[in-house]
Symmetry: D3
Subunit: 241 residues, 6 copies
C-alpha cells in the first residue's frame, strides 16, 4: 500500500463526514476562509452512497499521437495504470481531465479494479465510458459526462499525486474528499478534522431548526437562530442525549 499521508482523521471525524452534507461542509470551510471547495457540474452515479476518503490525484494532459495512439499501452509505465494498481483502502482517485469530455477518462473494467483494490471511490472532471455500468457498481463515482471513446483519444496521464485542479477546485494529495448526492467537496488536510467535527454540530442544530420550520416557525427567529431559539436547542439536545 502507498505511503501517502492519509488516515489522519480521527474515527469521530471520519464518522462525522459520513453523515455531514457537502452543503454543511461548504459552510464550515467558508467560515475558515475557503471559498472554492465544491466541484460544480459533477454527476453522482451512485447518489445513494456516501464518499469519504483521501485524495489520490491523477493528472491528465492533452494527448499527442506519439504518446498514445501510435504507441502500445504499457501497464508498467503508463501513469494511469500505475495509479490504478497503487490506490488502496481509504483512497479516492481524483482525476484532473481539464474538464475535457471529448473522450472518457476511465471505463468500467478499470473502475472495477479500483473498487477491488479497496478504494473509496473515483472522481473525474472529465467523462466515463461505460458510464451506465457505473450506476450499478458498488462504490460512489462522479463524472461530468459520458463518452464512449477510450481515454487516450484525448488524454495522456502525466503524473500522480501532484496538486491538481478538478472541476475548478484545487485538490492536494491527501486532502479529504467527501461526496453526496449533491456533489463532491475537497477539504484541505490541515482543517479536515475540525471541519468534520464542526459540521456534525451544525447538522445537529439544523435538524432542530428544520423541525421548528416545519412546525411553523418564522425564519425571523429560527434561521439563523436567535438567542431564544438557541436556548431551546440546548434543551432539545440535552433531552436527545
Amino acid at each position: 500500500m502507498s505511503t501517502r499521508p492519509h488516515g489522519y482523521l480521527s474515527p469521530a471525524a471520519f464518522a462525522a463526514l459520513q453523515q455531514a452534507s457537502s452543503a454543511t461542509i461548504s459552510t464550515q470551510l467558508l467560515k475558515r476562509g475557503f471559498r472554492n471547495t465544491f466541484m460544480p457540474g459533477l454527476v453522482a452515479l451512485r447518489p445513494d452512497l456516501r464518499l469519504v476518503g483521501y485524495a489520490y490525484t491523477l493528472r491528465y494532459v492533452p494527448m499527442r499521437e506519439d504518446l498514445t495512439l501510435n504507441q502500445p499501452l504499457d501497464n508498467r509505465t503508463n501513469q494511469q495504470r500505475i495509479a490504478i494498481e497503487d490506490v488502496g483502502p481509504g483512497d479516492v482517485l481524483v482525476i484532473d481531465a481539464r474538464g475535457d469530455v471529448q473522450a472518457a477518462t476511465l471505463g468500467n473494467i478499470l473502475a472495477e479494479r479500483v473498487l477491488l483494490r479497496g478504494a473509496a471511490g473515483i472522481v473525474t472532471d472529465g467523462a466515463f465510458r461505460d458510464l451506465p455500468e457505473f450506476r450499478s457498481m458498488g462504490f460512489p463515482t462522479y463524472a461530468r459526462a459520458a463518452h464512449a471513446a477510450v481515454s487516450w483519444l484525448s488524454h495522456y496521464a502525466a503524473d500522480r499525486n501532484v496538486p491538481i485542479g478538478c472541476a475548478g477546485v484545487l485538490v492536494m494529495p491527501g486532502d479529504v474528499i467527501v461526496g453526496d448526492a449533491e456533489g463532491v467537496i475537497a477539504i484541505p488536510a490541515q482543517v479536515a478534522e475540525e471541519v468534520a467535527l464542526a459540521a456534525a454540530e451544525q447538522e445537529e442544530l439544523e435538524v432542530f431548526l428544520l423541525e421548528k420550520i416545519r412546525a411553523g416557525a418564522s425564519i425571523l427567529t429560527a434561521y439563523p437562530p436567535d438567542a431564544a431559539t438557541l436556548q431551546e436547542y440546548e434543551q432539545w439536545r440535552n433531552r436527545r442525549s
Copy 2:
C-alpha cells in the same frame, strides 16, 4: 399577505393551466406574438407535480464582500429573507440569479419555509443547495444546477417584485408561471386568461389527433388536421361530452 396583483385568473382558466402542457401554452403564446416565454435549461426536481401560480420575483446581483461575507445577515433587511416571509398562497418565488451556478440561491430550510407559507413553488435560474432534498419536498421546484455553497458567496439580493430575467425570459411580478416535467413557462398577465382557455381547447384536439395517429393516420391529413379531420373531431368531442 401581499397586495400583489394576483388571483385574477378565473377558476376555469386556473384549472386549465393545471392540465395544459408547457408545450401547448408555448404554442398559444406564439400565436399571440410572444416568442420567448419558455425557460430552457431548468431541471424539474419534482417532475411529477404541476406548478401554477403568480410570479413573486426576487432579483440577485453579484455579491460584494462588504454586503455579504463581511457583514452579519439581518433577516429584517435582507431582501431574500423578506421575500421568504412575504410570499404566500398563489405565489411562485422566481429568482433571477443571472444564470450563475457558482453558489446556491437557496437551500432546503428556506425552501421548507416557502412551502409552509403556502407558496406554489420556486423557480431559479441559478442553483439550489441541498438539491437532493428538493426531490422529496412537497412542492414543485426548478433550478439549473446543484451547488453546496450558500447564496451570499455569489449573490446579493437587490430587490423584490421588479421585472426580472429568469433563464433569458422576462418575468413581471404577477405573471402566471406554469411548470411541468418539461420545464417552466411565463405567461404575461394580460393574456393569461385567454391563453389558458385556448390551451385547454388545443389539448383536447390533440388528444383526438394522437388517437388518430396511433390508429395509423398519416400526418398529411391529421397533423395539422384538415377539414375532414376537424369535422370528425367535432363529432368525437360531442360524443365525449
Copy 3:
C-alpha cells in the same frame, strides 16, 4: 418505402450491434482510424432500449420568418413532414439542428407517427418538445434538451438524406446508427459489417476479463490481456461454446 441503401448488414452483424456497447464500437472504429464517431451530450430518453438502424438524415437551418412563422405549414412541401411520412422500417431519423436548443426539433405527435411507420428511433442534436412523453414512448430517442416551443421558432427543414453533422459527428445517409444508455454512435457504412463482428468478439473477451478482474486479477496481466491470459480466454471460450 424508401429506396435508400440500407439493409446491407448481415443478420449476424445486425444482431451483434444489438448487443455491443457504444464504447466497444468506438474502440473498433478507432482501430480503423475513425476518431470522431460518438455524439457527446445526447440524453437517452429510453436508456433501457437499444437503437440499431440506418441513418435517414434531416437537415435544419436557422428559421427565417418568411419561411416559417409567417407562412402556413404545408405537409406536402415541408421537408420535415415529408421525412416523417417517408421513414420506414430500419430507418433512424437523425436530425441536424446545429446544436440549437432554443426551440424543439420535434414533438411527441410527430414522433408517434415515426414510431408507427416502423422506424427504429430518432436522434437529434437539438431539443424535443413534450420530452417527458418520449420517456414512455415505445422506441429509443435521443436529444440534447427539452424545449416547449415548436420547431419553426428556430428551425427550417432544408433537405433530407444529405450528409449532416449531428452533435459534431458526420452522418451520411445509410450509415449505421447505434444507441445505448451511454449515447449514440455513427458507423460508416463501408466498415459497419466488420466493426459489428469485431465488436462482438471484443465484448466476449471483455466478459471474460471482467470476470478475472472481479476475481482479483491485476490489470498488469489482465487488461490488456497478456499471452497467458489470452490462452486462458481461449479455453474459457471453448468451454462456453
Copy 4:
C-alpha cells in the same frame, strides 16, 4: 460564369447598399419582420472595405478520416475546390462551418484565387488560416477566428448553393450579403431592393438627426424625430438637393 440568380438589384439599390450601414439595414429588415439577419461574432479583416454581393453558399460538415485525411484531395470532385473555381463577379462566398474554429475553412492561396475570379468577398463562421494575410488582401473577408490547420482536419465540404446557416443566420443562395466594419448582414432576396432604398432614406435622415444632436438637440424631440423635426428635415433635404 454561374447561372445563379443574381444581379437583380437595380443600380440605385446596389449603390445604396454600398453606403448603408449594417445597423440601418438591420432596422429596415426588422420593420419587415425579419429579426435574425446579422451574423454576430465575425471579425472584419478589412474593416475599411465594404462588402456587397450575392450569396454563393458552401456547406461544410464534420470531417471523417475516410473522406479527407486518408484520401488525396481531388480538385475536380471536392466541393470546396469546385466552388472556388465557380464563383465569379458579384458573388460572396459564404461558408457554413457550424461555428467550428478548431481548423481553418480556407487559407490565403485559395482566397487569392477567389479574389482573382472577381468575387466580392468571403464570409465564414469558422476560421481562416494565414489570417494575417487576409488583412492585406484586396477584398473584404470575415471570419470568427484564426487557426493554422488545414480545413480538412475538421471539415468536409458537402455541397454548394443550398440554404445554410452562417453564424446562426439563414443564408439562401442569391441572398444579398452586406458587410461593413460592424459585421455582416444577410438580406432575403425578395426584399433586398426595397430594403436598400429604404436604408438610403433612413441614413439621410440620420445624418440630419446626428447634426441636430451634435448641435445640442435633446432626443426628446430629435430621436425619434417629432413632427417639427421632420418638417425641419424636409427643408434641410430640399436645401441639399
Copy 5:
C-alpha cells in the same frame, strides 16, 4: 441635473484615478478584501482615453414583444431614454445587459447625446451598434461586442440607478468607475478615496521598481521590494520631489 451622490472624491483622489491603472486599483481593492471588481471581456473602443466617473446604472431585462416591438417607443416613459436625458457631468452610464450580445444596447446617436450631456463615458456588458463609430467618438466607451440590431430586439430597460451586475461585477449607483486600455473596474464608493490615494503611491513605487528591473535587478530583491530596495526607493522619491 440629478441628485445622485457623486462628486465625493477629493480633487487629489480624482486626479490619482486619472493616472492609476485598473491593475493597480485591483490590487488596492484586493488588499481591502474586494476580490471581484474588474469586468472581464469588455473591449475599450477608445483605449487611448481614460475613464473616471460615478456610476449611473441602467438595467435591462429580456424584451417581450408587448413592451418593445409591438409598441411605439415613448421617450418620456422609456427608462433608457430617460437615463440618456438625465446623465450629466461626472456620470458614467453603466448598462446591465445580462451579457446578452444578440442585439445592441445603444447606438452612436444616443451615445453622442450622452457625450453632449457631459457624461464621462459608457460601459455595457452587452453590444453596441454602429460600434465602429464609437472608435472615433470623443469619449471612452466599453462593450463586449458589436451587433447591428436595435436594443429592443433583445432588451427592455427596466429601471435606473439600482444595483446592477455588469460583466459579473456588482455596480451600485455612485460607485466610482475607472477604465483604461485594460478594461473597467468598479470601486465601491466608501473606499474610493483611500483606494485612489493608495493606488497613486503604489504606482510611484512601481515606476521605481520597473526602472530597477530594466536596469537588471532580480525580482528576488526588487519585486516585491526588500528592505534595502525600499530604502533606495525613499531616496529616489526624495530626489524626485
Copy 6:
C-alpha cells in the same frame, strides 16, 4: 542558466522556423500524424515579432486561500518566481492556466524580467494584467485575454518543467514553440528539426504557387500543383538560386 534539453535545433532549422508560418508548420506536423498542435484563441500582443524557442513550462492550479491570499509571497519558494529567475536565452515561458481568465497569470513587471533574462517570449492560455503594456514590450507574448487582478486571486503555481496543456495542446519541456501573427504552435522535440526543414521547402513552393495564382492560374493545376506545375517550379527555383 538551466540544464534543460534545448539548443538541439541546427542553425538552419532554427532559421527556417524564423520564417515559416504556423500554418505551414501545422501542415508538416499533420503529415507526420500530429493533429493537435496549434493553440486556438491566443492573441499575439506583438504580431510584428516572430517567436521561436524551447518550452519552459509553468503549471498553475486553482488557488486556495491558505496557499496564496492568506500567505505572504516568498520569491524563493514560489514556483512562478523561481521560473522567472530561471528562464534564460532560448526559453519560451509557457503557462498552463487551465484557460481561466478570471485573473492574470503575469503582469508587465515580471514580463520585463523575463525579457531581461533573455527569454524568447511568453505564452499563456490565461490572461495578462497590464496587457496594454505588453503591446510595446520588446518581445513576443501571447495570451487569451486581459484581466487586472493579480495571478494569485485565481492561480497557484504548482510546478515547472512538467508536461502541461496550453490552450488544449500538449507542451513538453523542451518542445519547440513557434509564434506568428496567427498564433502559437508546439512542435514535438523529436520531429522539430525535420519539420523545420520541410516547412522551409513548403514555403518556397508556396511563394511560387502564389505568384502563379496571382498571375491567373487556376487551382485545378496549381494548388495542389500538378506535374507540369512542379516542373515549372523546379526551373523557377533553379533560376532563383
